[in-house]
């Protein structure tokens, strides 16, 4: 009755390279005349942007929707830790295209990198031209605050000390480094201070790497240097899994903020302590909203994240601009793929309401994050969200973490990634 990997992968054949054929890029790129009366432009086709584009079209087919994404294929961060750990052989099952989405909902997908947003003129500019919008939804995910790490060169350091915090070549590089490491080696994972994309992600990664080392690199260990005082999410469950499976392999050190890197010596420095040396070093840098959100001045006083209205996700800085996903400040909702999906639907419903002069609808949202802790076991955190006093709160007495490590949750987790990727791509 267990789901073997083959059927999981088969079920996952959502949108591999094969589906690139019917490219949806309109000929003129961004210089396109408006086809209808009203237009929504979405910047970023990830967990948030695809869903926002789709649901606007589902709710009101009279609104033209243009989705601008820089890559022709999207690689999912969720489940990419399974590639790092070797449970998945490569990223093919996590790589999806936009054709079906574009065709099913008549969404105009333009492959371009947005370089400018003029919120006064209501235009978006990329290399293929400039397009105007009635409402704009910005979903660029995160970029990194590399400048806070001494000695870090954004061009060269990730090739030596991969972050693998955007799935793709970085994920595969980290995997290759682990495979090439000598038995008895040390892997370092540095975790930035909150908030960052996917709070349980670093600890899932530590579990997956430890799983691999235990099997294939005897005597090796994983040192987790965490800027936070303790494991940020599902702490009890991760500790339980580590004690059960990875005793003596995972060396967790809380309140150890990495402040600098030395790629030549393969060391990282920590405030007030001696440098730590590693054979493989996974530096997860501190983060902020995607660069385009900052360039468009959509960030708040912290200059990092974008403040939004808790019901419409309209920017509190710029009118007619909405920000969803990792880039926005969504109150109690963590920065996750599920949150981005849920926020996108709330945003779409209210964009459509506002464009039709209707009353806005109070948000109701969900987050769930599954984390694998071993080949067969996963744990989850879940939450239900509502608005109170103008802020997104977690509904009291709801949600929480799994009672225990669970094989059943691992089965459901595989169905979750399938479902959410199908939702994004069809």
């Amino acid at each position: 009755m267990t789901l073997d990997r083959r059927s999981f992968l088969k079920a996952l054949g959502v949108g591999s390279a094969a589906s690139l054929a019917a490219c949806a890029t309109p000929g003129g790129g961004l210089s396109m005349a408006k086809s209808g009366g009203r237009r929504v432009v979405v910047v970023g086709g990830g967990y948030g942007g695809t869903i926002a584009a789709k649901y606007v079209r589902m709710l009101d087919a009279s609104i033209e929707v243009v989705l601008i994404e820089r890559n022709r294929q999207f690689v999912s961060c969720p489940f990419s830790n399974l590639v790092v750990g070797g449970m998945l052989n490569d990223l093919s099952t996590l790589t999806v295209g936009y054709d079906k989405l574009a065709a099913n909902h008549a969404i105009k997908v333009v492959y371009d990198t947005v370089t400018g947003i003029d919120t006064a003129a209501k235009t978006v500019t990329g290399s293929t031209g400039t397009i105007d919008y009635d409402r704009l939804i910005v979903a660029p995910g995160v970029d990194f605050r590399f400048e806070e790490l001494e000695g870090y060169d954004p061009a060269t350091t990730p090739e030596i000390m991969p972050h693998a915090w955007k799935a793709g070549p970085q994920t595969l590089l980290l995997r290759r480094q682990l495979e090439a490491m000598r038995p008895g080696g040390t892997v370092i994972i540095s975790v930035p201070a909150t908030p960052f994309r996917c709070p349980p992600g670093p600890y899932e990664r530590a579990s997956m790497i430890a799983m691999y080392l235990k099997r294939s690199k005897p005597g090796s260990k994983v040192v987790v240097l965490d800027a936070n005082p303790d494991i940020v999410s599902k702490a009890g469950l991760f500790r339980k899994a580590w004690a059960k499976h990875y005793q003596g392999i995972i060396d967790y050190r809380g309140a150890k903020r990495v402040t600098g890197v030395n790629p030549r010596n393969m060391t990282v420095s920590i405030e007030g302590l001696e440098d730590v040396k590693g054979d493989v070093i996974n530096v997860i840098p501190p983060q902020r909203a995607g660069d385009i959100a900052r360039a468009a001045k959509l960030t708040g006083p912290d200059n990092r994240w974008c403040p939004v209205n808790a019901t419409t996700f309209e920017s509190t800085v710029a009118k007619n601009v909405h920000v969803i996903g990792d880039a926005c400040i969504a109150g109690a909702m963590p920065k996750s793929g599920y949150s981005a999906n849920s926020e996108a639907k709330v945003c779409a419903a209210n964009v459509v309401a506002l464009m039709n002069g209707r009353e806005t609808i109070e948000m109701s949202g969900i987050n769930t994050c599954y984390s694998f802790v071993s080949e067969k076991e996963a744990v989850s955190v879940a939450g239900v969200y509502a608005v109170k006093g103008g802020a997104i709160i977690s509904v009291p007495n709801s949600g929480g973490v799994s009672p225990d490590l669970s094989e059943t949750e691992a089965i459901y987790a595989k169905s979750w990634i399938n479902n959410i990727l199908v939702e994004m791509t069809t």
Partner: protein, 192 residues
């Protein structure tokens, strides 16, 4: 920078006033679409183990949600999620999913088992699982096209006593062999 913060503060103030306009309470779509990240758009699951909700009766969904919330029905995650909603929300979402078309699935099923199940269902299950499982009596869930691994997990939970079977269903299930039950599940999963 100072100037930037000042504009920001002003903008925040303006939008705070604008945002004071009250919003309508969460609509059926607002509540239900949040579930779709696991159960699929409009409740049609892409599988292979998350169940579809599309086309389930309102009663079946409300009953399931209440039992998840109270803990009467065991779950991995639905109990934690159900606690975030009221009975009125359950009714709203149940109504929403009941209006969605049953989600046809393509699954690898054993034709011999499907045929055997088809022969068994009339006498054993059709009193409550109506129309080949496309509908259910009262709060009986629809099973047509449901994902087989999901149905198998639920049947295991019934047989092990973790999930409580309705008495009248138990009377029918008990005398059947594991192989017969497996055949019935293949049959229901095959119905389009």
């Amino acid at each position: 920078m100072i100037q930037r913060s000042a504009t920001w503060a002003l903008a925040a103030l303006v939008s705070l006033c604008a945002g004071a306009a009250v919003a309508a309470p969460p609509s059926a779509a607002m509540l239900s679409n949040a579930c779709a990240g696991c159960h699929g758009t409009n409740g049609g699951s892409a599988g292979p183990s998350m169940p579809s909700l599309a086309g389930q009766s309102k009663e079946a969904i409300v009953d399931a949600m209440k039992k998840f919330k109270s803990g009467e029905r065991p779950s991995t995650i639905m109990g934690r999620l159900a606690k975030g909603y009221t009975d009125a929300d359950f009714a709203t979402m149940g109504d929403y999913f009941s209006r969605q078309k049953l989600h046809p699935t393509r699954q690898a099923l054993d034709p011999a088992l499907v045929a055997r199940g088809a022969a068994l269902q009339e006498a054993n299950c059709s009193r409550c699982h109506l129309e080949d499982g496309k509908e259910g009596k009262d709060d009986t869930p629809a099973m047509a096209s449901q994902w087989l691994p999901y149905l198998q997990m639920q049947m295991s939970m019934y047989l092990s006593g973790q999930r409580k079977m309705p008495e009248k269903m138990e009377e029918k299930v008990k005398p059947l062999s594991r192989a017969d039950l497996e055949a019935l599940l293949h049959f229901y999963a095959s119905v389009k």
